[in-house]
């Protein structure tokens, strides 16, 4: 009976990605004798993948609209270089330098968005050109060397953790943990539970169908359990990474944008049927232009974080990041034809690759094998998507 309830409310195509993620985590926990879920390692996975996850948020919007962006790796490099020049060489205050860098990213996105949306050149070509252009620009700005070190606040944003504002608390056999982190975690869970409950109540008020209560609670419980595990482990290590807080904010904001905002909904309409969107009065060119501007800004943010983490802006920064971001989006359930995809899916896709990277390096696999596995996972994910779709149309 529970199985039938589960079967009805869990759409395999939508939830398959989360189940796959859970299985991969379990698999690598076993293979690494639990090392994967050690406090420091969880922190590492988040910090090491933060810039890819930020990129994948921008990328999923572009892929939903039916486009692609191959230039983000180079944009990460050039914006990192701009930030380094401003902060290190010109000694600008870091907040001002950060804002200028983000604006530069926006200008780069506007440049590409203009050619794609208003001039009508396929995004593949424009951003392939951008990949070369912005790499060239990086090399011009940097010469052939890195610029660093970055000011402390920038490094803290990329690498650092929240302070133990409220001291530690004993968790029995788990040892001491940061009270502030735990409180934040508890607040997040409480916030999630209330908004979900309110949304459910509102939908019931409109007499819409909702998940039956046990399923609703089960889903909520699973999400809460994941948050508890992650937060407790982080609290036992060095508290919350700042990039995690930044990421959480971005995921929340962009999830809202894609599900609730008119602008976000227009992206899906364009990707689902371009002509129908046009004939429904949607300003397609404008929407496409702005998602590329958005991608530029997010790439600049990733650029600053990546440079801050290495503590220098280098000429090879961001190499092949575009491929990771695109793979994250497709593993996370985006459709090749556009019109389908979720921010949370892209993040999960990015984390799947992050866990595979991390887990395989923990068990000492050589990098060629890691690449092999990632390639197979990407192909399998898209093949699964195509297969379920074909079965659904039959």
């Amino acid at each position: 009976m529970i199985a039938s309830l589960l079967g009805r409310s869990l759409n395999i195509r939508q939830s398959g990605i989360y189940i796959a993620f859970a299985l991969i985590v379990v698999l690598f926990s076993i293979l690494t004798d639990g090392a994967l879920l050690q406090p420091q390692n969880i922190s590492n996975i988040i910090v090491q993948n933060s810039y890819i996850l930020i990129l994948s948020i921008g990328m999923i919007l572009i892929i939903i609209a039916g486009h692609i962006d191959l230039s983000v790796g180079s944009v990460v490099a050039v914006t990192g270089a701009i930030a380094a020049v401003l902060m290190v060489e010109y000694g600008l205050p870091w907040p001002l330098a950060l804002v200028i860098t983000l604006i530069s990213g926006g200008v780069i996105g506007a440049w590409q968005g203009y050619w794609i949306a208003y001039f009508g050149i396929p995004a593949f070509i424009v951003t392939l050109a951008g990949m070369l252009l912005f790499r060239a620009l990086t090399l011009t700005v940097l010469g052939n060397q890195g610029i660093g070190p970055f000011p402390d606040p920038v490094r803290t944003l990329s690498n650092g953790f929240t302070d133990g504002y409220l001291g530690n608390i004993g968790l029995g056999p788990l040892g001491g943990a940061d009270l502030f982190s735990l409180i934040v975690g508890a607040l997040v869970i409480a916030g999630m539970a209330t908004t979900q409950w309110r949304a459910r109540a509102a939908r019931l008020g409109y007499r819409q169908s909702v998940d039956p209560l046990p399923i609703f609670l089960l889903k909520l419980l699973c999400a809460a359990a994941v948050i508890i595990v992650v937060v407790v482990q982080l609290a036992r290590f060095k508290n919350l990474p700042w990039v995690l807080i930044l990421l959480a904010f971005l995921v929340l904001a962009y999830s809202l944008l894609t599900t609730r905002a008119v602008f976000g909904r227009q992206i899906y309409a364009i990707g689902g049927n371009l002509q129908a969107a046009q004939l429904s009065g949607i300003n397609v060119k404008q929407v496409v232009f702005w998602i590329f501007v958005n991608m530029g800004v997010l790439a600049a943010l990733a650029g600053v974080i990546f440079a801050g983490r290495l503590n220098q802006a280098g000429p090879t920064a961001g190499n092949a990041f575009e491929l990771d971001a695109i793979a994250a989006a497709f593993i996370g359930g985006a459709a090749v034809q556009g019109g389908v995809g979720k921010v949370v899916g892209a993040i999960t896709g990015g984390l799947i690759m992050g866990v595979i990277n991390n887990g395989m390096s923990l068990i000492g696999s050589p990098s060629e094998r890691v690449m092999l596995v990632k390639g197979i996972v990407l192909l399998a994910a898209v093949a699964f998507d195509v297969w379920t779709k074909r079965r659904a149309t039959r």
Partner: protein, 510 residues
């Protein structure tokens, strides 16, 4: 006596839910020009697709005898091997390739796998002489006009040693001069012993060139006229094409007509692909509140082009003319302008232009006016659900809920979603392009009822349809369009299928 090159016996072809051909017989004599006439959707093209193997043997019932043999074609290559070549209305040429390359496409003059260019161009030149086209074989097809491209298609057919040439609307896109040349060429081919089957809407041409005429209506054979025995008039052909009893029923409707809601004056539209070609020429029409106005015209008359150019210039270039809404002249440059001025356009091709098939009903209904459901850019999705659910009930969309994906709905229900979308924009003027295409009879009745209700609510409706009985049963007034010009305007009381058909096929003095 038994000199039939082709006999098709008892051909029946069914598509899901529609019987496109029902027990059709066709006999074509060796060396004649045989015309097939009928309204849009009468089954002419389907019959030719059965003959040429586009619909392979086994997908239809009945049998085909060609040149005395029973034939069972499994694809086009099969039928071409027997010398049956079909030239479709949309030409199948590769514009970037040369004339010679196109003529021998898939039939290359090659030796040991390598193309013999000298032989290719030499033979192409001879074929071009035969069809009377004075162009070099190495000219790219993109650089010659449509009329000449049509001749290249015929040369291509001749290269395959054609014995039965099928032409689907060969002169639809041609001007008078090119048409005349093409018809002369067909007469010449007849002398050479090539049998032709020609599908055409231009009845004057048919009457002048054909030796026999077969008339189809609603997928059934009506009659075959032998012009050698006694010549026929255009009126005679029209009578065969339309002489149908009103088998569809229409909901009764008492119009309550108000003030003028939309007026288009001197509207001229040029083709965006063929430079200089006029698609709509000086059209003037008006629709009043509470009125259902029909727009009749044959394929290629410019009906959809007229509607889409009015709807925010979604079609065409170099558009001129004036649009009045409620008596005031308005500038409509984009689809958003059109929607803002209360004009809606429900497309003839819902799947390509009307719906996001991977999204649910709710999001399709809200797509054209999502701003109405949003506050400061944020959509109230509960309100969206409520609105969509209301439409589901009011228009009778058959689906478990508004969260069902539109791609899985039947044609009739998809059409109701499209109508809901435009009703939701609160438009005063609704242009409905082929609102019942591909919909079964029962659902048609429901769509007619919805259209009547919209008229009763004071909306102005402009309905484009290929089915004359539909226009006669539904509309208060009907305009006819022929070759981009409005050729007539008939009140409901004066309109008959014969009069409409005569106006729709009327050639304009140039």
């Amino acid at each position: 006596m038994n000199d039939d090159i082709l006999r098709m016996r008892a051909i029946t072809k069914t598509f899901p839910g529609v019987r496109a051909l029902h027990d059709v017989n066709l006999s074509v004599r060796r060396g004649e020009i045989h015309a097939i006439c009928g309204e849009n959707g009468a089954g002419k093209s389907t019959l030719m697709k059965v003959l040429s193997g586009v619909y392979p043997h086994g997908s239809y019932e009945g049998e085909i005898t060609f040149d005395g043999d029973h034939v069972r074609f499994s694809d086009i290559r099969d039928s071409e091997r027997r010398g049956i070549v079909i030239i479709h209305q949309e030409l199948a040429l590769c514009p970037q390739l040369s004339i010679a390359e196109n003529i021998f496409l898939g039939n290359e003059r090659a030796r040991r796998g390598l193309v013999d260019w000298n032989r290719t161009n030499h033979e192409a030149g001879r074929l071009l002489d035969r069809v009377g086209l004075r162009e070099s074989p190495v000219t790219a097809v993109a650089d010659i006009g449509v009329g000449k491209q049509q001749l290249v298609e015929i040369a291509k057919a001749l290269a395959k040693e054609v014995r039965l040439l099928i032409l689907d609307e060969p002169t639809a896109a041609l001007n008078d001069e090119d048409s005349a040349h093409l018809l002369d060429l067909l007469r010449g081919l007849r002398e050479d012993g090539v049998t032709c089957v020609i599908i055409s809407h231009k009845l004057n041409e048919v009457a002048s060139i054909a030796d026999s005429i077969t008339i189809l209506r609603d997928g059934k054979l009506i009659e075959t006229l032998d012009l050698a025995a006694d010549p026929v008039t255009e009126e005679r052909i029209i009578a065969g094409m339309v002489g149908r009893d009103l088998e569809h029923r229409f909901p009764p409707h008492e119009p309550n007509i108000g003030t003028e809601a939309l007026r288009i004056e001197d509207w001229t539209v040029h083709s965006p692909v063929q430079r200089g070609r006029v698609v709509v020429s000086g059209a003037t029409l008006s629709v009043r509140r509470g009125e259902i106005v029909g727009l009749a015209g044959l394929m290629g008359a410019g009906r959809t082009e007229l509607a889409m150019s009015v709807f925010g210039r979604s079609y065409g270039t170099d558009i001129s003319g004036r649009i009045y809404r409620d008596g005031h002249q308005v500038e409509i440059r984009t689809v958003r302008d059109a929607i803002r001025h209360g004009i809606a356009y429900a497309t003839e091709d819902r799947k390509r232009y009307g719906l996001n098939l991977i999204e649910d009903i709710k999001r399709n209904i809200s797509a054209a006016d999502l701003g109405r459901l949003a506050r400061r850019g944020w959509v109230d999705d509960n309100e969206e659900y409520r609105v969509a659910d209301r439409f589901r009930h009011e228009l009778g969309i058959k689906a478990p809920s508004v969260l069902s994906v539109t791609g899985k709905l039947s044609g009739g229900n998809q059409q109701k979603v499209v109508l809901s979308k435009w009703i939701f924009t609160d438009a005063d003027v609704l242009i409905l392009d082929e609102p019942t295409r591909g919909i079964d009879v029962g659902a048609k009745y429901e769509i007619y009822s919805i259209i009547n209700r919209l008229a009763d609510a004071g909306k102005a409706l402009l309905v484009i349809s290929s089915e004359l009985p539909e226009l006669l049963g539904l509309c208060d007034r009907i305009y006819t369009l022929s070759a981009g010009r409005i050729t007539g305007e008939l009140a409901r009381a004066d309109a008959t299928q014969e009069r409409l058909m005569a106006l729709m096929t009327k050639e304009q003095p140039r």
